[in-house]
Symmetry: C2
Subunit: 508 residues, 2 copies
């Protein structure tokens, strides 16, 4: 079949094909969701066959020469004349993806997915034994393949850019470094002051007995209250909490319940709800096209962190939810004042594990990983020296040193699975969240008053209009500029964290 | 790519392709399982897109000319010299499927699936209102398309054969009719005697309060005890109970719990467990090939009915399970003797709804449907006259007349969904089950003694060896002949039903 000479014809064919590829991807997501929630253990091998077949079919279709011809036919046409138009956005982002996918030879992709499976297994074993030496050869293999990937994809200044770009379009090692450097000093300073304040949050309150069934009920109520649509989604249980978009009308999230710790599941659900609200707010009629997809991991994370931290750990939020919490957990919350509760859920203290760390120190965990993974990729740091470099930075940024590598450089799954360039998106998300939230307060008015009344619709409506409904129309930086009139910057996040530190620890 | 001239090459390529097509089919089954268990309501439209894409990809690959060439290359070769060999079975059954699939024009397949969706909707609405006139035009449409299907597929004597053959390979309208005619008279006679006996089972026992959680626990215990492997399967809840084979190591069944009726869920689970045990016993190394697939719907049903009725409603079974039942339902079973319980779960009485009917009258419901659907397809009966013909036969076979069409000819979903030729497999399943069970008793020895000790492994082992592990090596009739030395016949089922009638109703 010759490529249509009419660019509109080409565009229509492209849209049809992209939508089918998206449906295939969504089927793979169903398989993955099932695998993590209900699949019986004996099905593991067959599920791998199912998943790899879907991945292969999807990859074959997305990298077909025909698709490249269709993209080219449209991008040389007047259809993309308006750079802010939907078609321009769809072509721009499809081109990005297409180029990246076609630049990677199938042999490299296969080798990476093979090594990643084995490497994750090795990491999991090594972490259990806290035996970094056992994992190190695998990390070397992963880095070797990732460097090849960088060469295939291409980059201007830094190989790291070739990896980062797939998670956060437009960012580079240089731009992230500039942002993070501006954040690091003030953060280290703030954490030091908090530690030095001598005040300690009554964490013990969160460690009382919180029955799982009551936790689940309460978390569902909160998710529903802030706007999660259970008619078009679910909440289940899994070992590793996640949120997945299975298609229009189907957004599912998971959590896990620890009866001896309240914060894990509850703020976890709020976090996943933030992701879910974004997914549920994407334009359904643009499904399968970039115009109907999320902007980046950083912007996605801005939504989850906003609901988890800026909303969920606010005084106003608990003004509304405290009575429900008391009803849900009468024993645990007996005699607990609103002030004590607020302090407990906003505890800040240096700790070893990123995923368990607080709103403030969390970013220092991320900065450290960004610096180290970039150095590893560039061969500025040998994997031999990783544990030492890790511990040294932990000491420098947080004033504590990991007693072993399991609680040090072996704690995260990311590197073993080849996700290098991913970590920065967590802190970018926090930065964007704070900037968006600051703007929302200006645009929407008294957010806190609304939260205290249990009214989250104004904030959600604002996010829907400004962010969710826009799909990938803008790049992350364009989006923050359009919405707030400012570029990405650490100011808003620092102001937010300092405000809380002032309130709770008397420092700033 | 030219077809390999070496038949072994051709066979290897065929096997690879069939296995991938099976994986695609198994993915479609995951989608369907999820749809019926956990999918949020809002996902319905997208799920339809996912399912139809998988169906299309699978159909395109299975009907490709290349596949036909590969089959032909093998079937003209010495590889199939041994008609009892695995390759012969794989080629024989793939040829059957391939011919059927390629004979149906895509336009007809699409029109059928479109009409079936609408027709099922119309049926569902019509049944609610018991308004047959509203459904009749849709039944006409379905019959019209089914007649076209028969013409495309081809048949010798009776168009009905073209439909029946896909569910029960080798059976024809004539052969089924002969079997059913031999069954009908004795069954009608037996039911008449039971009704005339004046004895009535203490059904009320089953209608006490049976808490759903206790039902689920007890049903799980029973499923596990008879051999269901929960490491390679699940039991969930759905509106319509079913069992689905999602691939090696993944067999899932569902049920629903009625707290005011014990028998529905419990015997439903035993029924689905029978299907599941068959699936779990298929040879995993032959997955995706006929040699690793089930023989027919009739043989599948023989497994479910055996565990539900021949095992699950036996005295010996309850000798073992009664203490567990008493522990699970202490209130409902207080003062209930084993005899009363045994009578209650073996109640026989004419009733209106097939799915709620007992082991004996069930077959008369099926016979009636077979006779009517065959007459409808051949235009021997007009859809105008269906309700009258239905009610007349209900009166003749069971001595009762439906008060409305909802409880008459509108009760089953099958015809609205185009499943004409499917009903006979239910009774064929009962016949095969009785024949197999009679033989198992001869081969394995004291089955009842084993059941009473809670030992179901000998029977399951026998089924595994004789039936499950054989895949589609033999046709249904060949299989029963090999196992029992006899052809399909109503003798064993009638003997079983008469034995119970003698024991409980004093008639035979």
């Amino acid at each position: 079949m010759p490529t249509p000479t009419d660019p509109r014809q080409a565009y229509l064919e492209l849209v049809k094909e992209l939508r089918e590829i998206a449906v295939i991807g969504s089927i793979a997501s169903v398989l993955s969701w099932d695998e993590q929630t209900y699949m019986p253990p004996g099905a593991t091998d067959h599920r791998a066959n199912q998943a790899s077949l879907m991945a292969r079919i999807s990859h074959e279709r997305f990298t077909s020469p025909r698709l490249g011809e269709l993209i080219a036919a449209v991008e040389q046409s007047p259809l993309v004349a308006d750079p802010q138009g939907d078609i321009a956005a769809n072509i721009r982002e499809t081109r990005r993806d297409y180029d990246r996918s076609t630049k990677l030879p199938a042999s490299l992709v296969e080798e990476m997915s093979r090594v990643e499976v084995l490497s994750q297994q090795a990491w999991s074993d090594a972490r259990k034994k806290s035996d970094y030496a056992e994992f190190r050869p695998w990390l070397d293999k992963v880095l070797h393949l990732k460097r090849q990937e960088c060469q295939c994809v291409g980059f201007k200044d830094d190989p790291y850019d070739a990896l980062l770009d797939q998670y956060e379009p437009g960012e580079t090692a240089t731009s992230v470094r500039a942002t993070f450097e501006a954040l690091r000093g003030p953060l280290v300073d703030l954490v030091g002051k908090i530690v030095g304040s001598g005040r300690v949050a009554p964490l013990e309150i969160l460690q009382r007995n919180y029955p799982a069934a009551a936790q689940e009920k309460f978390a569902r109520e909160a998710a529903r209250a802030v706007g999660f649509n259970f008619n078009e989604g679910r909440l289940d249980t899994s070992v590793h909490p996640f949120c997945t978009h299975l298609g229009p009308g189907d957004v599912r999230m998971t959590t896990r319940y620890d009866e001896a710790y309240f914060a894990d599941a509850f703020f976890g659900v709020l976090h996943e709800t933030g992701h879910a609200l974004y997914n549920q707010g994407l334009p359904k009629d643009q499904y399968g096209l970039p115009r109907g997809d999320d902007v980046s991991l950083g912007i996605h994370e801005s939504q989850s962190r906003m609901w988890e931290n800026l909303v969920g750990r606010s005084r106003a939020f608990w003004k509304h939810f405290m009575p429900q919490a008391r009803a849900a957990f009468p024993q645990a919350l007996a005699g607990v004042t609103e002030d004590a509760w607020y302090f407990a859920i906003n505890d800040v203290r240096p700790s070893l594990i990123r995923t368990e760390s607080d709103e403030t120190t969390y970013n220092l965990h991320v900065l450290l990983r960004f610096e180290l993974e970039r150095a590893l990729l560039r061969n500025d740091l040998s994997t031999n020296d990783l544990p030492g470099a890790w511990n040294e930075r932990m000491e420098k940024y947080l004033g504590i040193e990991p007693p072993d590598d399991a609680r040090g450089c072996l704690q995260d799954i990311h590197w073993s699975g080849g996700a290098i360039g991913y970590f920065p998106t967590y802190t970018l998300g926090n930065l964007y969240a704070a900037q968006f939230f600051e703007q929302a307060r200006k645009d929407v008015g008294d957010l806190e008053g609304q939260f205290a009344r249990g009214d989250f619709a104004p904030l959600l409506g604002w996010l829907r209009e400004k962010i969710h409904s826009q799909g990938m129309k803008y790049t992350p930086r364009q989006l923050v500029m359009r919405i707030t009139g400012q570029d990405l910057a650490p100011t808003a996040l620092l102001a937010h964290l300092r405000r809380k530190a002032g309130e709770l620890y008397g420092v700033s």
